[in-house]
């Protein structure tokens, strides 16, 4: 992690769309009267979604006014959580998991791909299509290595499959979410290696064959 500051280069004014305003109001309504500030994270998230994946100064001001909070309080939240981006991100924002399990399973080679295709960590392509950051564990260790692109997980990657994903993203093709090794969610990737004796038959557990859909 490093010091996070708001990108002040954009002057675009941020205002909630009517739809998002309703969404945000619904979040606020979850809390008692006068405690509207409790909805801050949800409301900031809605603002980030509307603002192409990042929070501008104007967005933070708008959310502060919306929740009747001091701006510094909103800024504290926005800088605390790394899920809030404080500078522009690409249309596809890639979050590469670099924590131990993913790293052991080959996250480093994915990083190389990103370095070649997009650039240094935190960079954004000139066409504003792709950007990437390295994040801590995203909780999909069974399917390591993995990346999150916008809202979805792409798992069991290797250099080739990941390169193809990026190529598809660039050419605007739709990409498949989930495992790239043909696994169903996080089922065992190989044949069973334990509980192999006959006893297992007696307790009547059905084995699921790998790759079964």
């Amino acid at each position: 992690m490093n010091v996070r500051r708001i990108d002040l280069s954009s002057n675009e004014e941020f205002l909630f769309t009517d739809e998002n305003k309703d969404l945000a109001s619904r979040e606020v309504a979850k809390y008692p009267e006068g405690r509207q500030a409790s909805a801050i994270i949800a409301v900031l998230w809605i603002a980030q979604k509307q603002n192409n994946g990042w929070l501008s100064e104007s967005a933070i001001s708008h959310v502060s006014n919306f929740l009747n909070m001091q701006k510094i309080r909103t800024l504290e939240i926005a800088t605390f959580y790394t899920m809030f981006n404080l500078s522009p991100v690409g249309k596809y924002h890639i979050q590469l998991c670099g924590t131990t399990p993913c790293m052991l399973c080959g996250a480093e080679s994915l990083k190389k791909v990103l370095n070649n295709e997009i650039g240094e960590v935190g960079s954004l392509t000139k066409d504003n299509l792709l950007s990437w950051v390295e994040v801590e564990c995203l909780g999909a260790c069974c399917n390591a290595p993995m990346v999150q692109i916008n809202d979805y997980y792409y798992e069991d990657l290797d250099e080739t499959s990941f390169k193809k994903i990026i190529k598809d993203l660039k050419s605007g093709k739709e990409i498949k979410t989930g495992s790239y090794k043909g696994r169903l969610t996080s089922e065992p990737s190989k044949d069973p290696i334990i509980l192999l004796d006959d006893e297992i038959e007696k307790i009547n557990i059905k084995r699921i064959k790998p790759g079964l859909k």
């Binding site: 992690m1 490093n2 010091v3 996070r4 100064e57 001091q70 701006k71 309080r73 800024l75």
Partner: protein, 683 residues
């Protein structure tokens, strides 16, 4: 208060069970190191310096966050045991200190906090002498948060006292902690300048050198300063201050603890005014000849005054005293005028309508500052306490934070740092008690500002307020809710002394309009315009409005340069002490007046300040009596309530437009000028 038995360091003690452990330990004289804990702020518990051992607990506990009530008795019902000096406690404190120092720069030699730094002191007592941290220390960018507070953010240990102060006490949430972990930074939103009138207090609160005073930057070391206890005269509150001086210069001003008045806060004007004490000073007498001021000697100047007094009829001689005069000066002046044979003297240069006819209760802040915490309703009439007395405003906010306080405001709408029910900006609204809407409140404070009382219809408004106060039961035997918020430090003393004209004499307003007086003494009066044709003798310290108009200037001394008494808005007598000597040929104001009286052959009957005080207190016993109002105050206030007058229809404007520019010292101060510019930029 309930007492609980505790075993602390193998000894039994009875402690107040409502306290936290750190407070209980402090009560019995055991010092626990701390950075984030502060009595007047909420508890954060993030510095971990106050760790102690609670016997039976699996790990050390933060004593600031641990209530005495939370401690559990031992297995056989014996009192809870805590250890503050055991191996466990010591190791925990040492560890916390090591973590704090890991990222703290070793720049004490160039740090302004050096010598009065909590981290420095506690590292000596609780820390180790070597470091095991061989990595690079973190560095943080400095923030520009205004002309008063200098930041060196690398030194910050994230105690968040400043954040809590600005949010809780000052009531302007402008500081915050952004980022997290190693990247946590204390900053304002996008490094905007701070807005609060109490921001200087974060300098005192900061336990390290992260927030220091910008004007005092690299000026002096704390151990080479002479400390003089004194009183602030920037507003009517009379906050307790300590003046730190080096040689003949005032280097800085700090607050002194006084829970009855200012707790431990002072306003920025009180704290940073000191550079104005050195600028624009009148350090020798002047006489205006051919419309040009010419330096003269004291004897020439005094002779010129005598000549003028002798050739003027006594009833054509007048005197107006200023907002920062001591009681002694005003008393000497009054005596001098009496000896000359003139009754034209007035301490109300803003043409305030307060008078001594209705007793002391009619012109002081009767409920007292401490009493604010008992009140359940406050009606603010034509005042902006945030500007007129920021520390008192912080007290109202403190009361508001505890809940069940109704505040109504008639007057100019502005951000007071607490919500209020805005009734309107028209004095006639006072006529309708229902609109004020404080039904059910038992202890109401009727806070009336100077701006109201100095209006032409000041007296009718005041009388109406007293009428409501009487009707609502807020003037009774155990509660007197009538509160005049004075902005002039000298005003209450002036009224106590009787520095006001009798019926057939001239008031300040009359004297300033030409023709009525031929010779006018201005005793540090700078907020009043004197029309042409009057010969003006100015006794004061700064070359400001008064001195500009003057024909003879007699250089006096500032509040840091003399001994004297002030009476604050609640009627409390407080003493100022001389920290440095007045510059050049300037003298104590009372001794100038004594000199004039001697030369006039109408000598004042005292020889030094002690005999002056003796006579003064004998003549004006009111001065000595804090809070004490005569037994007849009910009757007097009823008399005041029964005076009828017409209340005008124009809006109640606050007289003080610029918080930073209210007196000659402030107008001479560069720092105050910078603050003023900063503020006007924001608006």
């Amino acid at each position: 208060m309930q007492d609980t038995k505790l075993i602390i360091d193998e000894k039994e003690y009875m402690v107040n069970s409502e306290l936290t452990v750190i407070q209980a330990l402090e009560d019995i004289g055991i010092e626990i190191p701390r950075f984030c804990f502060h009595e007047k702020l909420s508890i954060a518990g993030n510095c971990r310096m106050c760790l102690i051992e609670v016997v039976g607990a699996p790990k050390p506990a933060a004593s600031c966050h641990l209530g005495v009530r939370d401690l559990r008795p031992g297995p056989n019902g014996e009192p809870p045991k805590i250890n503050t000096k055991s191996q466990v406690a010591k190791k925990a404190q040492k560890g916390a200190m090591e973590f704090l120092l890991a990222n703290h720069p070793l720049d004490c030699p160039i740090c302004d906090q050096g010598g009065e730094c909590d981290l420095q002191d506690q590292a000596m007592k609780y820390g180790t002498d070597k470091t095991r941290f061989s990595e690079n220390k973190r560095a943080v960018e400095n923030k520009d948060i205004g002309p008063l507070v200098k930041t060196v953010m690398t030194r910050c240990i994230h105690c968040t006292r400043c954040v809590r102060f600005s949010t809780e006490v000052a009531g302007v949430s402008e500081l915050g902690a952004t980022g997290r972990g190693e990247d946590m930074e204390i900053t304002t939103y996008l490094e905007k300048a701070m807005d609060s009138e109490l921001q200087g207090n974060v300098i005192d609160l900061c336990p390290v050198g992260a927030l220091t005073s910008k004007p005092y930057e690299f000026k002096a070391r704390s151990w080479e300063l002479t400390k003089t206890e004194s009183i602030d005269v920037m507003d009517g509150l009379g906050a307790n201050i300590r003046i730190d001086s080096k040689g003949s210069e005032v280097m800085r001003i700090l607050p002194r603890f006084n829970d009855d008045i200012n707790e431990e806060w002072i306003s920025d004007k009180a704290r940073f005014i000191w550079d104005g004490l050195k600028a624009q000073r009148l350090d020798r007498p002047y006489i205006r000849i051919n419309n040009k001021l010419r330096e003269v000697s004291w004897s020439e100047a005094i002779d010129a005054v005598i000549e003028k007094v002798n050739e003027t009829a006594p009833q054509k001689i007048g005197c107006i005293s200023g907002d920062m005069s001591t009681a002694e000066e005003m008393y000497s002046m009054k005596k001098l005028m009496d000896n000359i044979g003139s009754g034209n003297y007035d301490c109300r240069q803003d043409s305030s309508k307060l008078s001594i006819d209705y007793g002391r209760a009619s012109y002081i802040f009767n409920p007292t500052v401490n009493g604010i915490e008992e009140a359940d309703g406050i009606v603010i009439i034509g005042s902006n306490p945030r500007i007129e007395s920021p520390v008192l405003n912080a007290r109202i906010r403190k009361r508001w934070l505890t809940g069940n306080l109704k505040v109504s405001l008639i007057g100019e709408e502005s951000d007071l740092t607490y919500p209020y029910n805005f009734i309107g900006n028209n004095p006639n609204l006072i006529n309708d008690a229902k609109k004020i809407g404080l039904d059910g409140c038992k202890k109401i404070i009727w806070l009336v500002g100077e701006s109201v009382i100095s209006r032409d219809d000041g007296l009718p408004i005041l009388s109406k307020v007293v009428e409501h106060a009487l009707n609502s039961g807020s003037i009774s035997d155990d509660w007197n809710g009538l509160s005049i918020l004075h902005t002039a430090a000298s005003r209450v003393a002036g009224l106590d002394i009787g520095f006001v004209p009798s019926v057939d004499s001239l008031s300040a307003g009359d004297m300033s309009n030409g023709g009525e007086t031929d010779l006018l003494f201005l005793l540090g009066a700078d907020e009043i315009e004197i029309s042409k044709g009057t010969y003006v003798v100015y006794v004061g310290s700064h070359g400001d409005i008064g001195a500009n108009r003057a024909d003879i200037i007699l250089p006096g001394s500032c509040y840091t340069e003399k001994n004297g008494f002030y009476v604050n808005t609640e009627g409390r007598l407080q003493e100022i002490n001389r920290a440095v000597f007045p510059p050049g040929k300037a003298k104590d104001d009372w001794s100038i007046l004594k000199l004039i009286s001697d030369k006039l052959n109408k000598p004042l009957d005292f020889i030094d300040i002690h005999s002056l005080r003796k006579i003064m207190f004998h003549d004006c016993p009111n001065l000595l009596s804090f809070q004490l109002v005569d037994d007849q105050y009910h009757v007097n206030l009823k008399k005041l309530a029964s005076t009828k007058g017409v209340i005008l229809d124009n809006s109640l404007d606050i007289k003080i437009k610029d918080f930073y520019m209210t007196n000659p010292i402030a107008r001479a101060s560069k720092v105050m000028a910078n603050c003023s510019i900063q503020k006007s930029k924001k608006q």
